[in-house]
Amino acid sequence: MKKILFILFSVVASSAFAQSLTNVQYTMGFGSGDLGDFISKPSFRGFTVDFRKLVQPNLGVGFELGWNTFYEAKNYDTYTIGTLSVSGKQYRYNNQFPALFAVDYYFQPEEKISPFVGLGTGTMYSIRYTDMGQYTLKQDAWHFLLRPEAGIIINANPNLSFAITGKYYYGFAAGDLDAQSYFALSFGFVFKN
């Protein structure tokens, strides 16, 4: 898992430059729907890389890659399916990997504080592990993804800005999983080129 993430990040970081805006962000996630039911605790492990080429001064087109891992250690409990009951502690992991094309509209690109909204679509890979005792249930899915976003860019100097972004990821039901969705709050640096 870690190796895959590191390769993913290296590829993104080395290929996404020579263009206009590269946003490297720390991302917190707050599960909703089925994901929120499975893991109620927020994710404080995540990052996002956004790349946008400015096709107009107030319009950016590009892509986004990200990762968030949700984790919760459940208390000792009994889980029953039909006539089968299993008691123990469950350790639940849910990793989300969104990859999407995105369009952003910047309301005041020349101002010190530049609010923007955006929309993205693509795919999201979800991989869920439910560990109990020494046994693991693995479920995964490639979802069709929609992702609206809103945020502000704080322009510190001509080459570097700061960004705060709110996003909502909604991956439609697919594979082993129901629809997976979460809110994300990101903070990061915007490198301009």
């Binding site: 492990r45 990052f47 490198f191």
Partner: protein, 208 residues
């Protein structure tokens, strides 16, 4: 170029930082203890009331050959476990009787244990005990699991001598399994807790 390098460093640093704190899961061996129970939905436990069990716990090391007597876990370990099982059965209304020519218990309780990283098929570990009374029985098979740690499992089965499946084998009416990673020292409290939980999560075993 300068900003490209800066962004790459920022991205890699952030990823390394976050990957370094990937959640680790359980902290203690006991956190991996599980208790599993299953039962035959159509079986009427309420209409029964007596059970018999051997006074030992079989140590499963593989399928037996013929009517060979298996090995057992030491009596000093088995006795408190069996007492804990009896205590739970009594709390559910069951009366313990001896298996003999003259008594006919409603069900047989067949305890077993194994220590392994892989659980194989087995079917006849108590045949030597009840075979003389219920000739012709084999024993239902179980699925195979594999894990990366040495585990200890205590298995408790309830079998009705009067109910034989289409294949001629006894049908297990209830199974309780207590499973955990083995440690250097035997922990009776850990095992007893598992036994209690197996019966607690099986309220349908209560008799009238």
């Amino acid at each position: 170029m300068r900003y490209r390098l800066t962004a790459m460093v920022a991205a890699c640093s952030l990823s390394a930082l976050l990957l370094g704190c990937y959640p680790d899961g359980p902290d203690y061996t006991e956190d991996l203890d599980i208790v599993l129970t299953n039962y035959e939905k159509t079986y009427d436990f309420k209409a029964k009331g007596t059970y018999a069990r051997p006074d030992k716990i079989v140590k499963i090391t593989g399928n037996l050959i013929g009517n060979d007597e298996p090995s057992y876990i030491p009596d000093k370990v088995a006795a408190p476990i069996l007492a804990q099982i009896d205590k739970n059965m009594a709390a559910l209304g069951w009366a313990k009787v001896e298996l003999s020519e003259t008594s006919s218990p409603d069900i047989l309780l067949t305890p077993a244990s194994w220590e392994t990283t892989t659980i194989y098929y087995y079917y006849d570990y108590w045949y030597w005990w009840y075979g003389g009374y219920y000739p012709g029985w084999g024993y239902p098979s179980y699925p195979t699991y594999a894990s990366s740690y040495s585990t200890g499992t205590l298995l408790m089965n309830l079998v009705d001598p009067a109910v034989v499946g289409a294949d001629g084998n006894a049908v297990t009416q209830w199974t309780g399994a207590v499973n955990g990673i083995l440690t250097g020292a035997y922990d009776a409290a850990r095992v007893n807790k598992g036994v209690d939980q197996a019966f607690t999560q099986s309220p349908y075993l209560k008799t009238n």
